[in-house]
Amino acid sequence: MTDHPTIVVGIKQVPDDDEVSIDPDTGRLDRSSAPAVLNRPDRNALEAALGIRDEVGGRVVAMTMGPPPAAEVLEVAVAMGCDDGVLVSDVAFGGSDTWPTSLTLARTVEYLDGDIVVCGEETTDSSTGQVPPGIAAHLGWAQLTYVEELEPLPETGQLAARRDVEGGYERVIADLPVVVAVAFGENHPRPAGLHRKIYAETEFEPVTLDADDLGIDENTVGLAASPTQVGGMDTIEGVERERVTVGTVDELIDELAGTEVLP
């Protein structure tokens, strides 16, 4: 491992899941009423990144892509202990799907000279989980996704991880540089320190980068350069259920007997 790795954490501002409503007339989502928050799985990413710094030193820089107000999540990251925060913002990025998004973030990682990228498992607003592997693919780096535990191996310059796989786990060692996606809920994110919090709110100014700064051709990002488009949105009709409330266990068994689902 480089002596003082630069650890870049990818974080995102998302509408609070529970507050997104659907306009009954248009069927469109009303996200404007939902407060914007830090994507919950990203707290696990921040904790994992700060944990690496605790062990081997180095620098942790949070990066986020979005319109200027998205910089709010950088304050959360800095309050938790990140050394710096970068806002990647340009109208050219508008409408990007995961392909140009991961390209833009990959270029940001190069700009920051990152050695390790840590992301959350997925975002609560789009839940593709594709951006971390996308960053790794654009950079040609190793990747570790669905990571439950991380262990830096400074002697060999590698990172060891326990990954969640269907029905169990695996232990993998990856060469640096590497992109890590941390499984949601796998560690206990540290609370913001009081002094860091005051610093984040009063003195901290994020670095802002646009397509030009990153040497990104505007034709390779944004809606037009996105291979996928949203073709339509349908409200999911909730499954119709009986919604019978019974008072006793015997009544329940009587009801179930009629449905023939009991063994």
Binding site: D18, I22, W99, P133, Q143, E170, G232, I236, V249
Partner: protein
């Protein structure tokens, strides 16, 4: 903006995920669902098998409906790693130009799909629950969005292939027809151990329980507060599998392979008993295909009651044992001394 000629791309590909010869169930589900896509477009259904000593897996893919199977067989592919899989798959996609590529939305599938889609500049839609093609052969990939409130249709008009990862458990599995015939072709392996970026030290999947196959499920949520005894007893009485909400998994009370929901499994049992589960959208997404849902919760306002056929408002530590006991009684044939 792109110069992709979609006419050059044809066939529907399905990735058959195997680990050590064991095929993941979702692969056969995709093969079944893809048959109708291939019929619709009049193209071949092609299975892709990557692994070591996997000829048997290729034959099984034929028996499950593949017209052709492409096999990349080499030691470098066992156990699975994102970089050699991604590179091999990418090379195959670029050389043979499939129109549609379907991959199971397992951790493995979601891990390497991007390593194919990014360098190929393909459209990749994550974790779909419905797929279809329109008259022009454009894949309509549908996926729940925004916590499962809406179903978004994602299309990819100008790039090829059209790739999608598909959630396990939402489709029926293709039946095996041992006499079916198909063509098996071994392809060049383009990756070398010397170029790999990762090393797998250990892979441990012994604790696998496949809750997606269960007829009856008793699922534990935050309400059990670490005590699974009432859940296990009720599951025994019902001859059911035990499952869990994310909360119960995160707390470490139950292993992750039993999690139901958006980031867990989609289950479709005849009976789903949700015990001490609030009914968050991410959980509902995984249990909505159940035939009959029973909710046991001490909060009459818990959202789960809106999504249940039968509900009992009460303390699970009382309701579960009482229910188990009543079922045990009906089970036991009456014996007169």
């Amino acid at each position: 903006m792109t110069d992709v000629n979609s006419e050059e791309y044809e066939d529907v590909w399905v990735f058959v995920e195997e680990h050590d010869g064991e095929v993941m169930g979702v692969s056969w589900e995709l093969l079944e669902e893809a048959k109708s896509l291939a019929e619709e477009t009049g193209e071949d259904l092609v299975a892709l098998v990557i692994g070591h000593d996997v000829h048997d897996v290729a034959e099984r893919a034929v028996s499950r409906g593949a017209d052709r199977v492409l096999v990349a067989d080499d030691e470098v592919f066992e156990p699975y790693r994102a970089d050699p899989y991604g590179e091999q798959f990418r090379a195959m996609v670029e050389a043979r130009k499939p129109s549609i590529v379907l991959i199971g939305g397992t951790h493995t599938g979601r891990d390497f799909a991007g390593r194919v889609a990014v360098p190929s500049h393909a459209g990749l839609t994550a974790d779909c629950t419905e797929i279809d093609v329109d008259d022009d052969g454009v894949l309509q990939a549908r996926r729940p969005a925004f916590g499962g409130n809406v179903l978004a249709t994602i299309i990819c008009e100008e790039h090829r292939p059209q790739m999608a990862t598909i959630r396990p458990g939402v489709f029926e599995s293709a039946p095996a027809e041992p006499d079916r015939e198909g063509q098996i072709e071994h392809v060049d392996v383009v990756v070398d151990e010397a170029d790999t970026l990762t090393e797998v030290l250990e892979r441990n999947t012994n604790e696998t329980v496949d809750i997606t196959e269960a007829d009856r499920i008793v699922a534990a949520g935050g309400g059990v507060d670490g005590d699974l005894a009432p859940i296990r007893r009720l599951a025994d009485a019902l001859d059911a599998e035990v499952a869990a909400s994310r909360r119960a998994v995160d707390e470490g009370w139950i292993e992750g392979s039993r999690q139901v929901g958006q980031t867990g499994k989609t289950v479709r049992p005849e009976l789903y008993v949700a015990v001490g589960i609030s009914g968050a959208v991410q959980h509902l997404e995984g249990m909505n295909d159940s035939d009959v849902v029973v909710a046991i919760n001490n909060d009459p306002n818990a959202p789960i009651f809106e999504h249940a056929d039968y509900g009992i408002v009460g303390d699970l530590f009382e309701v579960c044992p009482a229910l188990a006991e009543a079922l045990e009684e009906t089970d036991t044939p009456e014996v007169t001394p």
